[in-house]
């Protein structure tokens, strides 16, 4: 199945250079957690990051479903 990984702000730089923009479609295995997918991209898991699944706050160990949008950005005061 496929999910969209969306990296915002300085996490954009974690994508390889051929990806231009915030989004990348990735193939994931049924039962994969978001942590497993993000680790492969070197996204820090823990308080340093905010991780949303379909715009909602992720829960530790949450499994991904087909067409999910997995979004990560550094936790940061702002706005």
């Amino acid at each position: 199945m496929k999910v969209t990984v969306r990296l915002l702000a300085t996490y954009r730089e974690l994508f390889s250079s051929e990806i231009n923009g915030n989004d990348c479609i990735v193939e994931v295995t049924d039962g994969d957690t978001f942590e497993a997918v993000l680790r492969k991209l070197n996204v820090p898991i823990g308080p340093a990051s905010v991780i949303l699944i379909n715009g909602r706050t992720s829960k530790p160990g949450q499994k991904l479903e087909d067409s999910d949008v997995l979004c990560a950005f550094p936790s940061m005061a702002g706005g």
């Binding site: 915002l8 702000a9 949303l52 715009g55 706050t57 950005f73 936790s75 005061a77 702002g78 706005g79």
Partner: protein, 609 residues
């Protein structure tokens, strides 16, 4: 006294009398400084029911306890007065370098009272204080005013002034300092204009003394290094400014779109921090002693929207951009420059035009009243509206009253996205419930600056919490509001202090901040006593509102937030369950069921009035 200078400057504009008064050290400790000390004086000296634009109102410039000390981001001041926009309290906050220079003149507060017969400005050069004629400056925009004042005083001086909007009593006029920084909200610039006070120019050399300078220096240096290290690893705020936020709020479905009719904006990628960096950023710009540098020095090379200045930051992108359906970043930036030059709050300006756009499209405001089509997404109509507001020309004279009065004039105040007549900042509370409670209860109206739980609900600071639930939100809002008083009163920037001077629990607690305050003042605060001082100030502010005639009925949100479910996105179907949160909030605050502080609570806080 240390850190506080112990001196108040009182400037009576009616009779031109200037007096210096001693600050009571116990009052300083109990009310901390800045926002806290200023409300103490305002509360004691004015009738909260008076007309905010009458000579009876007082305008207070208040530096914080730690302003101009080695404390990182000790660079803020606040303008405290009664707001002509809301009729409630105004405490508008700004950074840059003016506040630091103001503190070095040797005064903790400047209290302006009365009204000058003719336009004047105040020139403080250390011990020399004088009112000078500003007649030749009247009508001038902010940059020209600033340049002229520096020419006729001292090139190293710093300037805070109003533009034409403040002179014309636009109800959301700002006070601009260092040309581009704004004490923006609540119409503090209109109060300054009503007093015929064009500017305050300061040059000071009196560094605040410190109780334990060596300990202070060491602790502040270690924080500075810590922040600096984090910035080096990659700082979103340095890289993109607060303009990184649209993508985050859009992802959550709370990015104000078309006057809060939706929470997701199709054109978000055209108006975010990445686009700003690629197209218009010259360099990041920092306030005094700030290792972050979230400010944006920008230049737009465009035949129609060209210019140079600072901004836009997130709130402007939201109110002027997505809320008005505008995805043209050059036009948003130009609109921001116009606000800075004319002295307008970008949030209320944008949100007032957004409300007018919705009402125009729905047929509630006829085009003949406006004089031009006012559709969502039309940048030229937006910019024309801003110029007309600043000049109070044509329909601009109606817009200059703010969104609530404008919408009420046409019989539909429900299109004003405001609380206590202050327009919403850039978070749709249907998808960030703590922000909903904050907007409804804040002593200045819908502000994010009085307890910005979006840090936790959206940005993961100090930790990510679920924005949709109302569980624990009353507890958090009460606690965060008190903590934000402490930050404001100390003269610090919230961006850095929440993360580096508080602990990392969601119930933020002033660990290192208390040490810094004691090293600076020697006042012997405990962590608990400084939080209690925050609560004391918050309650005194609330009493000001109660005396001004505000009741529980004013602690509310527009019908759209309470009854119209969010139509799409991650917050789809949500409304703000305000009543439930409000009842709990009043209990936690020790207020009665009508939202009035009880005698027991006031006694506990030493506010026996």
């Amino acid at each position: 006294m240390h850190s506080w200078h112990g001196t108040i400057l009182r400037v009576n504009l009616s009779n031109q009398e200037i007096k210096k008064e001693k600050l009571d050290p116990q009052v300083a400790k109990d009310f901390i400084g800045g926002r806290g000390l200023a409300i103490k004086y305002l509360f004691d000296e004015v009738d909260p029911k008076m007309d905010a634009l009458s000579p009876d109102n007082k305008l207070i410039f208040a530096t914080g306890t730690l302003t101009s000390t080695p404390a990182p981001t000790g660079n803020r001041y606040m303008v405290v007065t009664k707001s002509p926009l809301t009729g409630a309290l105004a405490n508008s906050n700004s950074g840059g370098v003016f506040p630091t220079e103001l503190k070095r003149t040797g005064y903790d507060l400047i209290i302006f009272e009365g009204k000058s017969e003719k336009p004047v400005y105040l020139w403080i050069n250390d011990d020399q204080v004088e009112l000078r004629s500003a007649e030749r400056l009247w009508g001038m925009p902010v940059p020209e005013t600033t340049d002229r004042l520096l020419e006729e005083t001292e090139p190293k001086a710093k300037v805070a002034c109003i533009g034409p909007a403040g002179e014309r009593l636009v109800k959301f006029a700002s006070i601009m300092n260092d040309k581009h920084r704004a004490a923006g909200r609540s119409g503090v610039g209109a109060v300054m204009g009503s007093k015929n006070l064009k500017a305050v120019v300061v040059r000071g050399t009196k560094m605040p003394s410190l109780a334990e300078p060596e300990k202070m220096r060491k602790l502040c240096l270690s924080i500075q290094r810590e922040v600096g290290g984090d910035v080096k690893k990659g700082s979103t705020l340095r890289e993109y400014g607060t303009a990184y936020v649209p993508q985050v709020t859009n992802e959550m479905g709370i990015f104000p779109t078309h006057n809060f009719q939706s929470g997701q904006f199709e054109g978000v990628a055209k108006i975010d921090g990445v686009a700003l960096k690629e197209k218009y950023l010259i360099r990041p710009k920092a306030c005094y002693r700030c290792p972050i540098a979230c400010g944006r020095l920008t230049e737009v090379d465009d035949p129609k929207y060209g210019g140079k200045g600072e901004g836009p930051e997130y709130e402007t992108i939201s109110a002027v951009g997505s809320a008005c359906g505008i995805d043209n970043l050059a036009a948003i930036t130009k609109a921001n420059y116009i606000c800075n030059e004319m002295g307008l709050d970008t949030i209320t300006a944008g949100m007032t035009v957004a409300a007018a756009m919705e009402m125009y499209e729905k047929g509630y405001i006829p085009q003949e009243d406006i004089g031009y089509p006012l559709h969502f997404g039309d940048p030229d109509a937006l910019i024309e509206s801003f110029i007309k507001i600043a000049n109070r020309e044509g329909f601009g004279d109606i817009l200059a009253e703010g969104s609530y009065r404008m919408a009420a004039k046409y019989g539909h105040p429900e299109f004003s996205m405001s609380a206590k007549k202050l327009e919403f900042p850039g978070y749709d509370p249907r998808g960030a419930k703590g922000m909903g409670l904050l907007y409804a209860t804040s002593n200045i109206g819908a502000s994010h600056m009085t307890g910005d739980l979006a840090y936790a609900e959206a940005f993961g600071v100090p930790e990510k919490i679920d924005p949709i639930t109302i569980e624990n939100k009353p507890e958090l809002i009460k606690h965060w509001e008190d903590a934000f008083v402490v930050i404001d009163a100390a003269g610090l920037c919230v961006f850095l202090s929440i993360r580096y001077m508080f602990n990392t629990e969601i119930m933020i607690w002033p660990e290192r901040l208390t040490k810094i305050m004691n090293y600076a003042t020697g006042a012997g605060y405990t962590e608990a006593s400084i939080m209690e001082a925050g609560e004391r100030v918050y309650n005194l502010e609330r009493l000001f509102l109660t005396k001004a005639g505000f009741t529980k009925a004013d602690d509310t949100l527009p019908k759209r937030m309470l009854e119209e479910p969010m139509p799409e996105g991650p917050a789809q179907g949500q409304v703000v369950e305000l009543d439930e949160m409000l009842t709990k909030f009043y209990q936690l605050r020790g207020w009665d069921e009508n939202g009035v502080p009880t005698k027991e609570k006031l006694d506990q806080l030493g506010l026996n009035l």
